[in-house]
């Protein structure tokens, strides 16, 4: 038995004073909220900035497949944010800068998963750890236990600088320009809680990469992306960074723009600070769907944004922290436990398969990196403790979570690999296939996320099983990347996958059917350089079949050395679409009800009373026809863009939006004609002013895509603006489907 009566008392001497104080304040805020002395909006942002996030059903309602039931939590009316019930379980995001974690830290996180969560630790696509089903009352103690091993959850969520991510191979990579670890770490520490990052309209995500070519840092779709560069200055090599801003995935993906070709190392932190200041001062605050840095950069233009940042830089008060870390860049260097050694041949077939996909040699001779494949990014406390023990015994170094939701051992003496594999395999972590087609990335989706539309984890799990067990994947397709997002917010990073999926839903004869929009031709390499475009929505249950066809066609039709993006570009999206065309059809409910529930969730996806009324029955076919026409128009826009006719592609995307708008509006105005001015005016009157078209989470964002395209008059002519118009039209059409579903079914 321990003498301490609380974690606060027990860990008092082990927590840094500043963290301890922050957690005490948060605990007080919890009590104030319970006493009604803090408003729920204020409290919501407070807890978010501590990493305490909401989770599905935290509005106190849950659809059980037949009807919506109220979850009668004992807290009564007490909330922890708007529409967020106090007692409802939530998610705790643990910010792990660079994904770098010591064995002791990992052990503590395992304890937390056992004592406060559901026995699972989940690695995110931004190198964080998430624990689910946490009660807010327990979060202060959870934070104290993390603080005692040097981890803070501060600013893990909310309108703040989120986790600073970095290439997991930094320092041991054969292709890096230099090790970005000390720079990324310094940036994380410098920006944490900084005064200049407290007034954002939305979050800001930084990332570091040691090179331009590989995908580990993914700087292209981050708000701030820094790529290591060395230049010769005065005859000497000088370290610095290519400095990018305004990248982001989300509903409309934006590639980051180059702010500065070479930011010298001593200017890295002040430049980041200056970007934060400009973002805080000029970034959108009211319209949250336009508040990310990418929108500000687009609005101002990169030249003006750069000018403002550089002007701001001159106004900053000098700060010793800008360069203090440069005095000794080796403080974070890791010392291997054992001398390097040669890898011996032999071993079981299972070991050889693992060696082939999960191990790569380090830059340092005699050492290797070993990836632990974590299915869906999940592992148990027992597995976590096994990994920390292995790290202590084999490397004595930190482990790193990866953006592929895996774990990485570094500094493994290569001769130890057979034993390391055996140890991992003994706890079920010896699976091969890292970074192959079966190593699928997914966001939480409908499992736990409030915004999830379809079950991305369910799909990823089904695909994983299908591709590693049931299906015979052609060798040429083994290296493809598949990524799944549960909605358009893109947390699963589907835009940069060879084959990506994002969750959507469709209405079929009055019933709701889970679908995934297929996105092909994204580029994972070169830091996630290019984004794919949508091909069409496939019923969830037919996605594995679709993947089989796509991989087979690629394997058979590719040219020597041709990657998937180039292959898709060559054969055209129309050809890809033809491959899956028949799979987009949904059998009737009577024929196969399994299509009407999602992966891993037997509840009927649709509401029981949808499509029952005669009135709905008469109107539904017309609306569905119009929506289908808009989807066709949209697809054609993509094909036209592929053919190089950007103005025409943009025009067709606009027409797709008009089709969808007309389909919805005609329900309210039967005399509606074909004049675009009239359609837009009537659409605004009947669907926007009435807020019927408003998305529950992003408001009028999607409607504004139509108004913007309509108001522009002149057709955009560049490929990138046409691409963006198509993306926006895709979202508008999707919103039209959702609007139709919402208004056709009061229960939904």
């Amino acid at each position: 038995m321990t003498a301490a009566s609380s974690w606060k008392e027990k860990l008092r001497e082990r927590m840094p004073e500043s963290l301890s104080r922050e957690i005490d304040i948060f605990e007080t805020q919890i009590e104030l909220r319970k006493a009604g002395k803090i408003g729920d909006k204020m409290f919501a942002e407070t807890r978010l900035r501590k990493g305490v996030y909401g989770q599905r059903y935290d509005n106190g309602r849950r659809h059980d497949g037949e009807k919506t039931q109220t979850l009668e939590f004992p807290c009564g009316d007490l909330t922890k944010g708007p529409e967020t019930v106090w007692d409802a379980p939530g998610m705790m995001r643990i910010k792990i800068p660079l994904g770098k974690v010591t064995p002791d830290q990992l052990d503590v996180m395992c304890e937390l998963a056992e004592e406060y969560s559901d026995q699972i630790l989940h690695v995110t696509t931004r190198q964080d750890i998430q624990l689910h089903f946490i009660h807010i009352d327990e979060t202060p103690d959870l934070m104290r236990r993390l603080a005692a091993v040097g981890i803070t959850t501060h600013e893990a969520c909310g309108n703040s600088v989120r986790n600073v991510t970095a290439c997991q191979y930094a320092g041991v990579c054969n292709e890096q320009t230099f090790d970005v670890t000390p720079y990324a770490h310094a940036a994380a520490m410098f920006l944490l809680g900084h005064d200049d990052v407290q007034d954002f309209g939305r979050k800001l995500k930084p990332a570091f990469s040691g090179c331009k070519d590989n995908p580990c840092g993914l700087t292209t779709f981050h708000d701030i992306g820094c790529i290591a560069q060395v230049r010769e200055v005065d005859g000497k090599p000088k370290r610095g960074f290519e400095f990018y801003v305004g990248g982001g995935l989300g509903a409309v993906p934006h590639p980051a723009k180059l702010l500065e070709e070479f930011t010298p190392e001593e200017e890295l932190l002040p430049m980041m600070q200056a970007v934060c200041r400009v973002f805080g001062r000029l970034g959108e605050k009211e319209n949250r769907s336009r508040a990310r840095l990418k929108f500000l950069v687009n609005k101002l233009g990169i030249e003006e944004f750069t000018r403002l940042v550089k002007e701001e830089r001159t106004k900053l008060r000098p700060d010793k922290r800008w360069t203090a870390f440069l005095d000794d860049l080796t403080t974070l260097d890791e010392k291997p436990l054992k001398p390097g050694s040669e890898l011996n041949a032999g071993g079981s077939e299972r070991y050889k398969a693992w060696l082939n996909t999960n191990v790569r040699p380090q830059a340092q001779p005699g050492y290797s990196c070993a990836i632990v494949t974590l299915p869906l990014g999940d592992f148990t406390p027992d597995q976590g403790r096994a990994m920390s023990d292995i790290a202590r015994e084999f490397t004595n170094c930190s482990l790193r979570f990866t953006v592929d939701q895996n774990m990485l051992f570094r500094w493994v003496s290569s001769g130890d690999l057979p034993e390391l594999f055996a140890r991992l395999d003994a706890v079920g972590l010896g699976q091969s296939g890292a970074e192959t087609i079966s190593d699928i990335t997914s966001c939480p989706g409908t499992d736990t996320c409030k915004l999830g539309i379809s079950s991305s984890r369910g799909l990823a799990g089904a695909l994983r099983h299908h591709l590693s067990v049931a299906s015979d994947v052609p060798a040429a397709a083994q290296s493809l990347h598949i990524k799944c997002s549960g909605c358009f917010n893109s947390c699963g990073q589907h835009h940069v996958a060879d084959i990506g999926f994002l969750g959507v839903s469709r209405n079929v004869s009055g019933r709701r059917v889970p679908h995934f929009q297929l996105v092909v031709g994204g580029q994972w390499t070169e830091n996630g350089k290019n984004y794919g475009l949508a091909i069409g929505a496939i019923p969830s249950k037919r996605v594995p079949q679709a993947v089989d066809r796509l991989t087979k066609a690629y394997a058979e039709g590719r040219r020597e050395g041709e990657n998937y993006r180039d292959y898709v570009g060559r054969v055209g999206k129309k050809t890809v679409r033809q491959l899956i065309d028949d799979l987009t059809q949904v059998p009737s409910y009577a024929e196969d009800p399994s299509f009407y529930s999602d992966w891993g969730d037997p509840r009927e996806y649709t509401t029981g009373d949808m499509g029952v009324g005669e009135c709905a029955g008469e109107i539904v076919p017309f609306v569905e026809m119009g929506l289908a026409a808009s989807e066709r128009e949209l697809f054609e826009a993509q094909v036209i863009l592929d053919e190089g006719n950007a103005p025409m592609a943009a025009e067709r995307a606009y027409q797709a939006m008009l089709h969808a708008a007309k389909a919805l509006t005609r329900e309210r105005n039967a005399n509606l004609g074909d004049d675009p001015d009239e359609i837009v005016r009537e659409f605004k009157l009947h669907l926007c002013d009435t807020r019927l078209f408003h998305d529950p989470f992003v408001g009028d964002k999607f409607a504004n895509f139509l108004f913007s395209a309509h108001g522009n008059g002149t057709t955009p002519s560049s490929s990138s603006t046409a691409h963006q118009r198509i993306e926006e039209a895709q979202l508008f059409v999707e919103a039209a489907h959702q609007c139709y579903i919402r208004n056709a079914s009061p229960a939904s």
Binding site: L71, F73, D87, E115, P375, V427
Partner: protein, 197 residues
């Protein structure tokens, strides 16, 4: 016992760890039909994780796992909050675990029906502030465990063994040679629990 967080696991010899999906609709139905007398919220599927928590019926005060940890499938009941009075906690946890096993064994949609062993259990206390998995930690609770288990197994010989490393939560394996059936055990700790369905 001053342990608000308490887990009891009852083992099964015929739950197929590679086919846990069939329990998912059962747990969803338990939520929908209020089969238990407590607030249940969601079902989490971790069947893809080796020796993991399997399929979890997540509730406000308690969770129910079709648990695969240590490679030994079983039903694990986990009290998280709103614990009964200290003297009632072990009895209540066993009652809820046994009740869940009874419901699963009787569920007509499960084929084959799962069978749970009455002669073996695991007690875990996931609270490292007050309970450490070492001999002193075990000794401090052993007598209380023995007293309760003596009543549960009606004086039958019970062997208690502390298991797991000292990094694990305090874990005690309970084995008895002459256990009655689950229904008898359930009746000894208060009988079946009926929800509002």
């Amino acid at each position: 016992m001053d342990a608000p967080k308490l887990q009891v696991k009852l083992f099964s010899d015929n739950v197929d760890s590679s086919n846990l999906e069939k329990f998912i609709p059962v747990f969803h139905r338990w939520i929908r039909d209020h089969v238990l007398d407590e607030l249940m919220i969601d079902v989490a599927d971790y069947s893809h994780v080796h020796h993991g928590p399997g399929v979890v019926l997540v509730g406000h005060a308690s969770d129910y796992y079709l648990d695969l940890s240590d490679g030994q499938p079983g039903l694990l009941y986990s009290r998280k909050r709103q614990a009964p009075e200290p003297g009632e906690r072990l009895r209540d946890a066993f009652r809820r675990a046994l009740n869940a096993c009874r419901l699963l064994e009787a569920d007509p949609t499960l084929n084959p029906r799962p069978k749970f062993r009455a002669n073996e259990a695991l007690i875990k206390l996931p609270d490292r502030l007050d309970f450490s998995n070492d001999d002193p930690g075990f000794d401090a609770l052993k007598r209380e465990f023995e007293t309760f288990l003596g009543q549960l197994y009606a004086g039958g010989k019970v062997k208690l063994t502390r298991v797991g490393s000292n990094k694990s939560p305090l874990s005690v394996r309970v084995v008895t040679e002459n256990a009655p059936d689950l229904t008898t055990l359930l009746n000894r700790v208060g009988g079946p629990i009926n929800g509002s369905s």
